[in-house]
């Protein structure tokens, strides 16, 4: 399968790989996917007092498109408010990376990862 240049770029030079300390109250984690399906994405966001995502990191087990999708969303969420980040759609990710139809699920997973991280943050705050 031929990958788009953007997928290859993100795959070869992934942005923001890594982890934040889990017990930091400003950190929220979203983990989606399953090993049996061939991809697991962990997205962490660091949210400041104003509700702005200051930083993001990811780790992904999955194909090149899954890695590229998660790398891309770490770039996209930075500087956004939680509400703005919530608006990121899988179709935007798929379009930006020119994902072929069989790889659309990677972009869906990335959108789910953002939503899961935001939900985790809200739960932490609420609780």
């Amino acid at each position: 399968m031929a990958y788009s240049n953007k997928v290859i770029d993100h795959y070869e030079n992934p942005r923001n790989v890594g982890s934040f300390a889990k017990d930091d109250p400003s950190i929220a984690t979203g983990m989606v996917g399953a090993p049996a399906c061939g991809d697991v994405m962990k997205l962490q966001i660091k949210v400041n007092e104003q509700g702005i995502i200051e930083d993001a990191k990811f780790k992904t087990y999955g194909c090149g498109s899954a890695i590229a999708s998660s790398s891309l969303v770490t770039e996209w969420v930075k500087g956004k408010s939680l509400d703005e980040a919530q608006q990121i759609k899988n179709t935007d990710i798929a379009h930006e990376l020119a994902l072929p139809p069989v790889k659309i699920h990677c972009s869906i997973l990335a959108e789910d990862a953002i939503k899961a991280a935001i939900a985790d943050y809200k739960q932490k705050r609420g609780g």
Partner: protein, 404 residues
């Protein structure tokens, strides 16, 4: 060193230059371009003679009679002709067929088609090393079983079935035994005088011949009958009509002649390269050699790298042409059905790479491959949340995954 490095000899082999040279003699006006079925002039006679020479060369590799060799377009067609042809010919005797879950799609899909035509098929499970258990095979046999089809060498993991023992069992029950030997020629000794095999499929391009040519061995004593699947001029004793392709046939003959001549030395050389590759990789944490406990051909090494996904690994190995145990690359997101049949978890089946070594592989290429594999595994595990969890001592089976 020239990149990329070709380590996908189980998918196809390059044509040996000696074979290509032979092949070119059968195409142009200056060469032997004739139709072997032309009986009225020298062009036809010469072409026919060349075809018969090649038929003998193929028969010699497997110790058969040249009259037992039928040319086809490849192993897929041979499998279709053998299984459908025998099932249909012997259907008055019974309509039950047996194969294994790890067979090539050319066998499995042929079986599925026969099911649609009213046959019943048993798909045997294999043991965790990929071998068929003889007792389970015997238990699956019924009075109405007419054909057993099992492969000699598995294309994904390289394990060698005990064809001699399975043949004895089939013969004792009067069941036709078909063997797909596409991956076996030039790799293992095949003696059809001693093996109780009735039908055997061969491929040109897995043994340094061209693509688009194959053959089917059809035993004469005891005689095996087939319903033809391709009708026309009655070529190949009525079993496979269609003008023979002397350039491809002569090339396959030459390729099989070379295979016979060089098999012993080649096997030794490739075994040394295979050991070198595995020695360079086996110390990486959490790697598994699939089919490791069974007899295997040296050319095929299938390794699972836990916590790394196969397709991204293939991307990381971009200078190395290998294939993934997971079929993601072919646009289906299913992990390899062969590895699943061995009992591998989906994760491990998704994390597998087949390295296949052949005639033109060098030590230098193997050493480079080992280096690239180490780099790729380091990079991808650094990026893998599963690797982190494993390192933290979390049992991944206890995690409630959010499947999508």
């Amino acid at each position: 060193m020239k990149l990329p490095i070709y380590l996908d000899y189980a998918a196809t082999t390059p044509v040996d230059p000696r074979v290509a040279e032979k092949m070119m003699q059968y195409l142009t006006m200056d060469g032997e371009f004739g139709n072997p079925a032309s009986r009225s002039h020298r062009f036809g006679w010469q072409a026919e003679e060349s075809v018969e020479v090649a038929r003998s060369q193929i028969a010699e590799l497997v110790n058969a009679d040249p009259r037992e060799i039928v040319f086809t377009s490849g192993a897929t067609e041979s499998n279709n002709l053998a299984i459908k042809g025998a099932a249909q010919f012997y259907k008055k005797k019974g309509k039950h067929l047996i194969t294994a879950k790890t067979e090539h799609k050319a066998v499995l899909d042929t079986m599925r088609q026969l099911e649609r035509e009213g046959f019943e098929v048993t798909y045997l499970d294999v043991e965790s090393n990929g071998l068929v258990d003889l007792a389970k095979l015997e238990a699956a046999m019924r009075p109405d079983t007419t054909v057993v089809s099992l492969m000699f060498v598995n294309n994904e993991i390289g394990v060698i079935q005990d064809i001699a023992a399975i043949g004895e069992l089939c013969r004792s029950k009067g069941i036709v035994f078909h063997v797909d030997a596409a991956q076996a020629t030039g790799k293992v000794d095949i003696d059809l005088q001693s093996l109780k095999v009735d039908l055997m499929s061969f491929s040109g391009h897995k043994t340094y011949g061209p693509k688009g040519i194959g053959a089917l061995y059809v035993r004469r004593k005891p005689r095996i009958r087939l319903e033809a699947q391709t009708h026309g001029g009655g070529h190949e004793r009525g079993m496979r009509s269609g003008t023979l392709a002397p350039h491809q046939i002569a090339a396959m003959g030459e390729a099989f002649r070379l295979a016979k001549e060089e098999m012993a030395a080649e096997r030794e050389r490739i075994t040394a390269l295979r050991d070198r590759l595995w020695d360079g990789i086996k110390d990486i944490e959490q790697v598994y050699l699939n089919g490791g406990s069974a007899p295997r051909v040296p050319g095929i090494t299938n390794i699972s790298f836990n916590f790394v996904e196969g397709e991204s690994l293939i991307m990381a190995l971009k200078d190395i042409a290998v294939s993934s145990g997971s079929a993601c690359t072919s646009a289906s997101l299913e992990p390899s059905y062969v590895l699943r049949a061995l009992g591998l978890t989906d994760e491990l089946a998704h994390s597998s790479i087949r390295f296949s070594i052949g005639r033109f592989t060098t030590e230098e290429q193997i050493d480079h491959t080992i280096k690239i594999v180490h780099q790729a595994i380091d990079k991808l595990r650094e990026m893998s949340p599963l690797w982190d969890m494993f390192k933290d001592g979390i049992d991944l089976n206890t995690v409630a995954w959010v499947a999508h």
